[in-house]
């Protein structure tokens, strides 16, 4: 099944010469054709889209399992949604055994590629981008699998999302690797997800590089995430997220942010050039919400956190958020720096044994000279401490994610 190449590109070029920023002309035939193929696809169907830039003005969607969508390359086959009139995403997939590769989604009104609730999802060499660069009016998520199982995101590129470039929500068994997240609010965000490996990625120019979050009032609490061998550098972009969203509380200049999540191992990464901190460990309480807005079952405390063997570059010289700025100046002087790791200091008092967290629930920093500052959020920054004594520990390594699609691809 091959789609007819089209002449809309020529038309757009022609129009572009006449006036500034003309509304793109959607190629309605291409759009109708492609959507019809998506509707009539059968398990095993491969929908190939040849090289070209295609203008679309409404969302695409797929509900048939076992379908592959293939472009000619993330810089060759481009679905442009500039001027989109309807639909909250570029492509919405509600199906299993889905593969999409070698294609780009540009300038969608809302999310670019959303996959809801399927199993065995492969997103390979897909680019999602807002071509105007970072802007609050950009869509929220680039690559957005949610409530999926067995998901591989490999060699993707995500640029300019007003929330997260690559966002994995409420999923199980996930690998995100060899991908690049640039100039989003959050580069890569793993949220309420169980068993995720995030490795060999580059996160740069975002507000926060890689986030591992848990949010309340959702069917699944996340745990067990490994973040390793990534290059997480220079994530200092002003936060352009929307208030009320989880990422809006992320200070500009954050490398890795762990919020309310449990069993998170961050190791062997290159993390540096972050104005606030290379690593932030925080609870839901630091996101500006109160007990009133969480269900009782929600655990807001980050526990079982292990930071080890990372190579930290300079950080903490000019933190975002007024409290942190004041704190830095008062504790470390005008020209000083915050330590590499910043912790808001919230612990679940109910589980303390002799005043300490049980070993497997601990926060462990085993990263050479790197220091941690406990800003004592619960007491309004009263007893700020850089004493590492209780936090110099190790936790057993977390198990690697077992994902057939990731193994099959190794070295391919």
């Amino acid at each position: 099944m091959r789609l007819a190449p089209l002449s809309v590109l020529a038309l757009s070029v022609l129009l572009a010469a006449c006036s500034e920023e003309p509304a793109p002309v959607a190629d309605l035939d291409f759009q109708k054709d492609l959507q019809t193929q998506l509707i009539k696809a059968k398990p095993g169907s491969v929908i190939e889209i040849p090289a070209g830039t295609y203008q679309l003005d409404r969302s695409l969607s797929l509900k048939v399992s076992g379908v592959t969508i293939k472009g000619a390359g993330m810089d060759k086959t481009i679905l442009s949604f500039k001027g989109q009139k309807s639909g909250a995403e570029g492509l919405l997939v509600d199906a299993s055994d889905f593969t999409i590769e070698d294609i780009a989604f540009e300038d969608t009104l809302g999310d670019s590629l959303k996959v809801v609730g399927g199993k065995n999802i492969i997103i390979r060499r897909v680019r999602t981008e807002w071509t105007n660069g970072p802007a609050t009016e950009n869509g929220a998520y680039g690559i957005y699998p949610v409530q999926t199982e067995n998901t591989l995101i490999d060699g993707a590129v995500a640029i300019g999302a007003s929330d997260a470039g690559i966002y994995v929500g409420q999923s199980r068994n996930v690998v995100v690797r060899n991908s690049r997240a640039e100039r989003n609010v959050a580069g890569i965000e793993i949220e309420n997800t169980i068993d995720a490996d995030v490795y060999d990625n580059v996160a740069t120019g975002n507000t926060g590089g890689i986030l591992v979050f848990n949010m309340p009032n959702l069917p699944q609490a996340g745990r067990v995430t490994r973040v390793f061998r990534n290059k997480i550098e220079g994530n200092n972009h002003k936060n352009f997220g929307h208030k009320g969203t989880p990422v809006a509380s992320v200070p500009a200049g954050s490398g890795v942010v762990i919020n309310s999540n449990d069993d998170v191992e961050v190791f062997d990464n290159d993390i540096g050039d972050h104005k606030t901190a290379n690593v932030i460990i925080s609870s839901y309480f630091s996101t500006g919400y109160t007990d009133l807005s969480t269900a009782e079952s929600f655990d807001p405390y980050p526990e079982g956190i292990h930071i080890h063997g990372n190579r930290f570059g300079p950080a903490g010289d000019s933190p975002d958020h007024l409290e942190l700025k004041a704190l830095k100046v008062s504790q470390f002087g005008l020209n000083g720096r915050l330590p590499d790791i910043l912790w808001d200091g919230y612990v679940n008092l109910d589980i303390l044994v002799d005043g300490k967290l049980p070993a497997d629930r601990a926060i462990c920093i085993n990263n050479g000279e790197a220091g941690m500052i406990n800003v004592d959020g619960p007491n309004n920054y009263k007893n700020i401490s850089t004493d590492m004594t209780d936090y110099r520990c190790s936790l057993p390594p977390l198990p690697a994610v077992k994902l057939a699609s990731a193994d099959a691809d190794q070295g391919a």
Binding site: Q35, Q170, P219, H242, G244, P246, L292, A295
Partner: protein, 370 residues
């Protein structure tokens, strides 16, 4: 031009052969044209449900850009649906049709109103309505199938359009102002996107359920409660003898005596949101549940932080802030017409001012703080 068209219609009326209702229990040889379904008939410039099909409407309907809807249900001879409080079980072969249209004035201008303009005997007067699309829901052995048919300008025929369609319309309101509507006919997947209210269970009817149908309707022979009428017609089994026990949403736009503001708001959210925002629906990923079974608490949005709303949060911190509609994400999203912000995501391009008004008044009436 207009007179010519009318003439052509009159000419055609009466001489068309009306096919019998189509029974299609299996297979995918769906008709390319709506008339092949045999659900609607034309006579003397009117279009109306065929005698074998029952017209119906709903207490509080889904808002779709002020379109009026002519709904019909047809079941194969000697079959009936069985009553359930949450949903009915329809026999294989059942066809539901929903025709979206606007009323027209004498100059042919489309009107914005919520009047019921259907003649119980004769149906819709073709000269006074503009038919836009007819959606078919067909129950087959494998499950329900959703099929969108788009009407031609002359209102002669509607054609199956798997990939949907769009129309730029201008509606004239009672004050003489026009409102532009970028009407979107959903594609077949988008139909299923809303109608699959339980993930993994495929498409199901949303409207014809007890709480929506439990109302009086003007039939050709007078007003009857729809559930009782269906039962009397042999189309519904197991309706409770006492209608008191049958759930009933508030009547839109004018509530019945005693239907509270909360009931109106919940009925509105039920009809417009709960097909996705229920514990097993596509909107479950947000944690916001607006189905009738969810109590008014965090899950219903009260003081609940949005999860993945993105710019849909509108810089507001919680879905519903008691007493403060302008601090509530819910209001921000139902007021918006930006496809990346608005709720529902599909089915409208205009704001439903009257619906927003009910929700605003309800949120304003809530006590407490976050």
């Amino acid at each position: 031009m207009h007179r010519l068209l009318l003439g052509a219609l009159l000419l055609l009326a009466g001489c068309e052969q009306q096919p019998a209702p189509l029974y299609l229990p299996q297979g995918d040889n769906y008709p390319e044209t709506l008339s092949e379904w045999g659900m609607l008939q034309r006579a003397d410039g009117f279009i109306a449900p065929v005698a074998e099909a029952l017209p119906y409407d709903l207490n509080t309907p889904l808002f779709t850009d002020y379109a009026h809807k002519l709904r019909t249900v047809w079941m194969p001879a000697d079959t009936a649906a069985s009553y359930g409080e949450a949903h009915f079980d329809y026999p294989v072969g059942t066809v539901l049709s929903k025709t979206f249209y606007y009323t027209k004035d004498a100059q042919g201008r489309l009107l914005l109103n919520e009047r019921d303009d259907r003649d119980p005997q004769r149906g819709l007067e073709l000269a006074r309505v503009q038919l836009i699309e007819t959606r078919i829901l067909l129950k087959q052995q494998e499950g329900w199938v959703a099929l969108p048919y788009v009407w031609d300008e002359q209102q002669q025929e509607a054609h199956l359009e798997w990939a949907g369609d769009s129309r730029e319309l201008s509606l004239l309101n009672a004050e003489g102002k026009t409102q532009a509507v970028a009407y979107q006919v959903p594609d077949a997947n988008q139909c299923a996107g809303c109608h699959e209210e339980t993930a993994g269970q495929g498409v199901n009817p949303l409207g014809p359920k007890a709480r929506h149908l439990n109302k009086d309707f003007a039939y050709a022979d007078g007003m009857h409660n729809q559930l009782q009428h269906w039962q009397q017609q042999g189309r519904l089994q197991g309706v409770p003898a006492e209608l008191q026990g049958v759930p009933q949403n508030a009547l839109w736009p004018t509530p019945r005596a005693g239907e509270s503001l909360e009931k109106q708001a919940r009925s509105y959210l039920d009809a417009n949101c709960s097909h996705c925002h229920n514990p097993k629906g596509p909107g479950r990923t947000s944690g916001l549940l607006l189905d009738p079974a969810t109590a008014i608490g965090i899950s219903y949005g009260l003081c609940k932080q949005p999860v993945a709303a993105g710019k849909g949060s509108g810089d507001r911190l919680v879905d519903i802030h008691p007493g403060q509609p302008d601090k509530s994400v819910l209001l921000f999203r139902v007021e918006s017409v930006d496809p990346s912000i608005m709720m529902p995501e599909l089915g409208r391009s205009a704001m439903h001012a009257e619906g927003v008004d009910v929700l605003q008044r309800w949120v304003a009436s809530l006590q407490g703080d976050c």
